[in-house]
Symmetry: C2
Subunit: 335 residues, 2 copies
């Protein structure tokens, strides 16, 4: 039996899913609003476990306030780097976990729909009761005649490649930090260096984790390789694509249409210019790809299991930071 | 060698694809505009073959004017019933052919995207930079947790079922005039009578040919079986769904969203009311699902081969009407 406080943030989390932790002897504490750093410091005092499903920032100071008791911060989702100071947690011997893979099918399915939407220009065609019959050159290609480049071949990238190859017969190329030779053979994928992949692709799909290393990975130099009319699908974090570079490439017509699920910060001037000047060529949704009930349930269940593992003294497969025993590539399953 | 006139309508058809017919000895005649009935009568005089890729109506009178010479009318597409008087052609011993199957992958891919679009409400979410985090009950389900009912299990319906089962793991039920027991086992599909299927489905996909028999097949009685919030995807011909019945079911909330690729005639009052009162819940495109370059090429090639077959005295597998040697079900590959 474990005693002590369990802090759970995120009002959307169903209490029934926390029962196994309560049965362990943990006392549930659920604040009802987004905590400030000061409030979080207060709430964390005496906590042994912290299930992070909210919008608060677990800073070094907040973690420090719980250093005597806190064993584990289980982040619900994959973008933990913006919400938890993992380096500080490592120093304090607090395990941080995340929930990679839980939203794989949701994000892959959403991304495939956006690929088809942009290929047929379905959104732009809505409300046109009669197509333009006189312009056969404007007709879309079948997916089997499209070259689709995937940047990042983690859990979600792999799922997207599977669907595109197996269900639609598209030609799929990819770039990844490490080659996946078994997968290449299995799915008949073509590995290409990033610049070559961008030049090759009719449709470019970005699916790498959002972090400091991938920030503006798709920059002006990379986008300059794109042929005219290339479609860009970014259902990873927006920060992977440099918005200034995207502006230029949309102005030049290299990028004809761009998809984002989640967009740049509201105060970003580059983002505002993109929306103002190319709004009709941008399909922006608010980070909804991963937000299905099943994916969210899976994330919470996975976070709960991680807490159980850590409190039971087991190694958790989803630990991040210094405690991660996995290759970075294996965690490449953002957003 | 065959001599005589080959009438080709549809300005979009690439001349290179007609070369094999010219090599047969046929003289190509390509009017540049949509022909009236009178003009068609004139153009058909002396023609031995007629490749119908345009918008003109091959009426009994027009066909009669060519009865001495005309052997074959090859319709490019599947909705020939609105464009060629097949009964009159049968009486005159003129073979009529169509091009089923050619647009299978295009229509299936487009339909799958619209299923995902409506499931996530992607179109409605466009421009919302931040999702509504407080409403977990509003979250979409993963496709693997959705029951998708397909009405019509012809070439395209089968392809849609394959993609939904194999790529996305959705639960798929179907209704068809004849059961497909092998397919049921292969894909783990559930056959259900039409009313039961409608009541069972979260998402109902209509994929039957548009003709007199299927007109308003989805009527008030059928739609009354739908549970609240059912999504209706009609990428077959609009006439398969009774617009008055659809209006009532959208008013009642049984149908929450409806997709059409091609809509009712512009002078339809029921259609105007649907657009006016439920425009935001209707995703209407102008019959674009089948219009990819590859599908159009395939259709023209198939029509050319049908003409060759008939002129060479062979039985054509794509003959329709009295000359069809196929079961009606096998041709169920609209739109």
């Amino acid at each position: 039996m474990t005693s002590g406080k369990l802090l759970v943030t995120g009002a959307w989390i169903d209490r029934a899913r926390l029962e196994s932790l309560e049965r362990l002897g943990l006392r549930l504490r659920r604040p009802s609003h987004v905590l400030t750093e000061e409030e979080l410091e207060h709430e964390l005092k005496g906590a042994v476990a912290y299930l992070h499903g909210g919008e608060e920032r677990a800073t070094a100071a907040a973690l420090l306030s719980a250093k005597e008791t806190l064993k584990v911060v289980a982040f619900v989702g994959v973008g933990y780097e913006s919400f938890v100071d993992v380096a500080a947690a490592d120093d304090l011997d607090i395990v941080v976990t995340s929930t990679p893979g839980a939203a794989r099918d949701s994000v892959a399915t959403f991304t495939v729909a956006q690929i088809i939407n942009t290929n047929w220009q379905i959104v732009q065609q809505l409300g046109n009761r009669y197509p333009d019959w006189d312009n056969p050159d404007e007709l879309p290609h079948e997916l089997s005649a499209r070259k689709i480049g995937i940047v990042g071949m983690g859990t979600i990238g792999t799922r997207i490649a599977e669907i595109l190859r197996q269900a639609f017969g598209a030609k799929v190329g990819y770039y990844s930090r490490t080659r996946k030779e078994i997968l290449e053979k299995e799915l008949d994928l073509e590995y290409q260096p990033l610049r070559e992949l961008v030049a090759w692709s009719d449709i470019l799909v970005v699916m790498v984790p959002g972090n400091e290393k991938t920030k503006y990975m798709i920059d002006a130099g990379i986008l300059a390789e794109a042929r005219k009319g290339t479609i860009l699908i970014n259902t990873a974090r927006p920060s992977v694509v440099d918005p200034e570079a995207l502006y230029t490439s949309m102005e030049e017509g290299r990028i004809s249409l761009a998809v984002f699920d989640g967009f740049y910060p509201k105060d970003s001037e580059a983002a505002a210019r993109l929306l103002e000047d190319f709004g009709g060529r941008l399909l922006v949704t608010g980070h909804i790809a991963s937000h299905t009930r099943e994916a969210m349930d899976r994330m919470v269940n996975q976070a709960v299991r991680s807490i159980e593992n850590v409190l039971n003294g087991l190694t958790d497969p989803y630990a991040v930071g210094a405690r991660s025993d996995r290759l970075p590539e294996a965690r490449e399953s953002s957003p």
